[in-house]
Chain length 438, copies 2
């Protein structure tokens, strides 16, 4: 395997092929179905593939295109949906045995409606860890079958990496978009908190949950965000233009270094050298006071909010909860209101402090490793510590692969922008991706 | 005493007198100071009166007026500030012995800055119950010296009712604006949650706290809201105009009746008859499902958030907390995170259900008694049960007196509008006040 190229199974290359008549949506969906038939037994990325429904949707897209109707930026593009998101006619299983016994969803989640309105073909539901928490799923990493794809958007990341589908929807409460995307050598966008609707999405923790896309290139993240938010695409990249002022990245110091493997440290340093050689300015930025308490307070909020939501069903279905999610819920059930509120207060204060690092215009984006290192073995889903701070502060992040480790596994960095600065952050990430990967 | 008339010590009458030259801001402030000298020993409405500072501010307003500068809708008007709100140079005592030993505030709260920018003269700090909770304050009701003025904005309501100051700022977490205003025969506005800044205000419970004005007539509430939010005054009243469609009020059924004294029930029925005779339409509206749990969940949120804020100081200063606030904090300290979150979830769901009762255009405002009955004796601050539902849902309320009870104490009703509908609600309340009090 190699890291995705801009012209290889991306939204823009597939759209161009459909425009030229070289491909149809039906032929693209058929290719996805063939690849799934080849790889699914090993990868186990899908809960369900809607073979007939996807082909029908694709044929309709092709008929629409023939009459000149292009519904939106994802017209005819197949998409995988993490199985915590309602898709009309399918059970939302959320990786849970007892949830999988519930009736089918009778309506699409708001974000699925938005994707359909933008022309997307819903190919099927991708595997999530149980209730989007930490219990390892059956899914494996396409780069190495003994490794985890990461979690909790395990199926979405593995499917995009293995070219089973060009884009997929994930969600992040700790590190559940960025971590699997990075372990699998593809790109992840965790938008600003609140940007993508949570309506019809099984919650983990309502103050921390972020749906967002996983894709093969940063440009495809932008296309999918446009579809999800029904916004027009920004067509120009304003920053990093040779005639413009140089791009300024802040390398965040004081939390991430100690948690980073040597392979990742080497790759990050090389990447920053490459960026600086191309004219990008890189400054050291210290984490604000109180940053070291992030993980503890993040865990407290996640545990309490998960416990509040599972409160009743955890009694009824206790023996069907995996050990990681059960332990999280038990922690939350035992927590006091004032500890939860202290964590929320810390979250609000740190969000303000962190956001001001990039909101004042001195720095365009913060850069940090996207994971501690390459994907570990499949007995865990890896450590979300590099990503949880951004789920906590609700600031948008874009991650993309930068290199392969010595054992041939992908490594990625993440860029973080100010809340609400998602489009500009995507522009910056695309500039950096182009420099690093050219 | 009698209920305030539109031309008696109101913002508009005082402003007109200043415009005509009949009064100056200095003469108005001097009248306030004389009235305070007469009544304060009995009423105990003030923590501190800034005699010299207020006279200086008034003289500056008079000089500005002489040169044609009118700073805003409260130019030259004295205002009392509840002593949980920071006023530069004064201790914010919050009704607490240990708080009163802290250093003076070195900056104005945002809302005080807004009042000064609108031309207001800050006359002094008014008495609050301890930490704006339920322990009875020394303040007494100007209508009957043995009765409570209500709480927690006790001094603000008593001072406005006794003509010690034309308007005063209060705050409401349960029923702390509407209840004292109603017990004292004056008007109260609890704006939509989030409308008036809490910056520089000692919190009770951050999800429930609402600063707002107490004034002698509804029109003065509008002037003060304009000052607080730096908005232009709406000059026309759109609803209730004879050429317009009739005003439609919803009488809320299923919670309030059982808690209402017979005096209040009689007064409310008479008021509704008067309004209907004037062409107002009155419909019965049932409270939504889950309404009966409001008080329990409101108390839980208030207790938890108060406990989170007082957590440390409650250990250090335990013996200086009054029994009511101590019991609230102890409840909060003992509460679980999941009970708090269940209450917050109920709050969110009920807010949506309640708001939709008035947001869809079928009903212009809901009408309910403003208190259970007339002011009780001074051993309590009265029952906030009529008001807490609106602090809980964050919907704006305007209350105004409608009658005197047989024992000569004021009774009031409250109108409730949709979130964000504060200006229209003030228009409606002014129409109703005019019909009821003409």
């Amino acid at each position: 395997m190699r890291l995705p190229e801009a012209d290889e199974f991306t939204v823009s290359s597939l759209s161009a092929a459909m425009t030229s008549g070289e491909e149809s949506s039906e032929s693209i969906v058929s290719q996805c179905l063939s690849r799934i038939a080849e790889r699914e037994a090993d990868l186990r990325a899908w809960v369900v593939v809607d073979r007939d429904g996807a082909l029908e949707q694709a044929q309709q897209c092709d008929r629409d295109r023939a009459t000149g109707t292009i519904r939106g930026p994802l017209h005819g593009i197949p998409v995988g949906i993490k199985d915590i998101v309602d898709v009309n006619g399918f059970v939302t299983g959320a990786g849970s045995p007892w949830f999988a016994r519930r009736p089918v969803a009778t309506a699409d989640a708001t974000l699925v409606t938005a994707l359909r309105n933008a022309g997307a073909v819903i190919l099927g539901k991708t595997v999530t860890t149980q209730f989007a928490c930490f219990d390892p799923p059956p899914t494996r990493n396409p780069w190495h079958i003994d490794r985890t794809p990461g979690g909790s958007s395990s199926g979405s990341a593995a499917a995009v990496a293995a070219r089973l589908v060009p884009i997929a929807i994930g969600s992040q409460t700790g590190g559940s978009i960025t971590r699997p995307a990075s372990f699998c050598g593809v790109c992840g966008l965790k938008p600003t908190f609140g940007t993508v609707s949570l309506d019809g999405v099984v919650p983990v923790a309502s103050s921390l949950d972020h749906p967002g896309p996983i894709a093969r290139r940063v440009a495809d993240l932008r296309m999918t965000l446009a579809a999800l938010t029904r916004q027009q695409l920004a067509t120009e990249i304003k920053l990093g233009d040779p005639n413009d002022r140089p791009l300024r990245l802040g390398r965040l110091r004081g939390f991430f270094e100690d948690r980073t493997s040597s392979a990742m440290t080497v790759a990050l340093n090389r990447t920053l050298d490459t960026l600086m050689a191309a004219g990008v300015q890189v400054f050291d930025v210290d984490v604000p006071r109180g940053f070291s308490d992030v993980l503890q307070h993040h865990r407290c909020i996640m545990a309490c909010e998960a416990a509040a939501w599972h409160r009743t069903s955890f009694v009824e279905h206790r023996d069907e909860y995996g050990p990681c999610v059960a332990s999280l819920i038990e922690e939350g059930l035992a927590a006091s209101a004032i500890d939860y509120l202290a964590a929320r207060e810390h979250q609000a204060a740190l969000t303000q402090a962190m956001n001001s690092l990039v909101a004042d215009g001195e720095i365009d984006a913060l850069v940090t490793p996207a994971t501690t290192g390459p994907a570990p073995d499949a007995s865990t889903t890896g450590d979300p510590c590099m990503n949880a701070p951004w789920s906590y502060t609700g600031m948008p992040t874009v991650s993309f692969p930068i290199a392969l480790s010595d054992d041939g596994l992908p490594l990625a960095i993440q860029l973080t922008g100010p809340r609400g600065g998602d489009w500009q952050l995507l522009d910056i990430a695309e500039v950096c991706e182009r420099i690093v990967r050219c």
